[in-house]
């Protein structure tokens, strides 16, 4: 049996998809690791002093400097002749797409020997559901509310996977916690490569999305089955693979599960469907 390295007793909300994600990531990576964690739910729920849910060496510093801390840890290890311990960042979408973006770009550009895992729950959840540049179009958050003039977030999602890949790092991939074998496979693959590796992991937040806790994992499967979320791989800047879900389900099946989208009109849903269809051109 593979040992659990993200253990029970953490304080994530019932049904939290990021907790399942960390169990999966840690089982794939194993014990020879140093985890560098950004501020966010991941850190708050797992490491209130004097407890830790991480059964491995772990450091939390700030929200914005995770890639820089990880680069330092990695360079220190390698300078001491340790060429095996993996340095793994765990950071939310707020930390990755927005607040730590500059430091992340630096880490990727220098090709530092780090695996960076961004768990994307599509908003700043820990501070009470504020929109980030990962929040999708029209989603309601506390800073993209539904009013009479504007309904939800006016902008779409920043293409962070493509931006990471554009640094021509050896490996950049996206996955979803609803596909644990894909998560494990991509982490194992990343571990066999040296340099900067970026994994974008879609993870559910029932509290922030207005999603039934029981359907938390179902939503992370549906976003792939509808084709809204692609599980893709990029090597040295070029796309080398994408998971094809077969006959894609209507996007509405994913959208209707969540109250953050409850104000969407049939026209809004049709627009999302059209955009998703177009995004698959040449890939199916």
């Amino acid at each position: 049996m593979v040992e659990e390295l993200f253990v029970s007793g953490h304080r994530a909300c019932a049904g939290c998809g990021i907790a399942t994600s960390f169990r999966e990531v840690m089982k794939a990576v194993g014990k020879d690791v140093i985890v560098v964690n950004a501020t966010g739910c991941s850190e708050i729920v797992s490491s209130p002093y004097p407890q830790s849910a991480w059964k491995v060496p772990y450091i939390h510093s700030l929200f914005e400097n995770v890639p820089a801390v990880a680069s330092g840890v990695s360079h220190a290890l390698r300078s001491m002749g340790n060429d095996h311990t993996q340095v793994v960042c765990i950071a939310g979408d707020g930390a990755t797409y927005d607040i730590g973006f500059g430091a992340l770009s630096g880490m990727l550009e220098r090709n530092d020997d780090v695996i960076y895992v961004c768990y994307d729950n599509e908003a700043y959840m820990n501070t009470g559901i504020q929109r980030s540049s990962a929040t999708p179009w029209k989603a309601a958050t506390t800073t993209s509310q539904v009013g009479s003039a504007v309904k939800g977030k006016p902008q779409g999602k920043k293409p962070i996977l493509e931006i990471a890949a554009a640094h021509k790092i050896p490996y950049a991939a996206s996955t979803s916690v609803g596909y644990p074998f894909d998560v494990a496979k991509k982490l194992k693959k990343a571990m066999g490569i040296k340099g900067a590796r970026f994994i974008l992991l879609f993870a559910s937040c029932p509290t922030g999305w207005g999603l039934d806790t029981a359907k938390s994992i179902q939503a992370t499967k549906l976003i792939v089955e509808t084709g809204i979320w692609k599980m893709a791989e990029y090597e040295n800047g070029k796309m080398t693979g994408v998971f094809k879900p077969g006959k894609r389900k209507p996007v509405e099946e994913y959208i209707k599960l969540q109250s953050r989208f409850k104000h969407l009109t049939p026209e809004d849903i049709a627009a999302i469907q059209k955009e998703v269809d177009a995004s698959w051109t040449g890939l199916e």
């Binding site: 029970s8 007793g9 019932a14 049904g15 830790s52 644990p180």
Partner: protein, 81 residues
């Protein structure tokens, strides 16, 4: 000097079972030991994959993911007493 450092894996001291309002009830005879529930449980409190799940109620928060994902629907969520 005693450094204020948390020890790995010590969150297990924090019992989260009292968060629960529903709890999983497993019809063991129907279970095909597929491991799906154990894999997806956010608490990692259902025992080892490949075996019939045994829920550790010290940690189960009653989310219902296991019941929703079980391919043979042998888990029911029932009110906690």
């Amino acid at each position: 000097m005693k450094l204020p450092i948390s020890k790995p894996g010590t969150s297990v001291e924090n019992k989260t079972g009292d968060w629960r309002t529903f709890k999983p009830d497993i019809e063991v005879a129907k279970c095909i030991k597929c491991g799906t529930c154990q894999r997806f449980c956010p608490e990692g409190c259902m025992g080892d994959e490949g075996k019939v799940p045994i829920v550790n109620f010290d940690y189960c928060k009653g989310c219902g993911i296991c019941a929703n994902e079980c391919p043979v629907k042998c888990i029911k969520m029932i009110p906690e007493k």
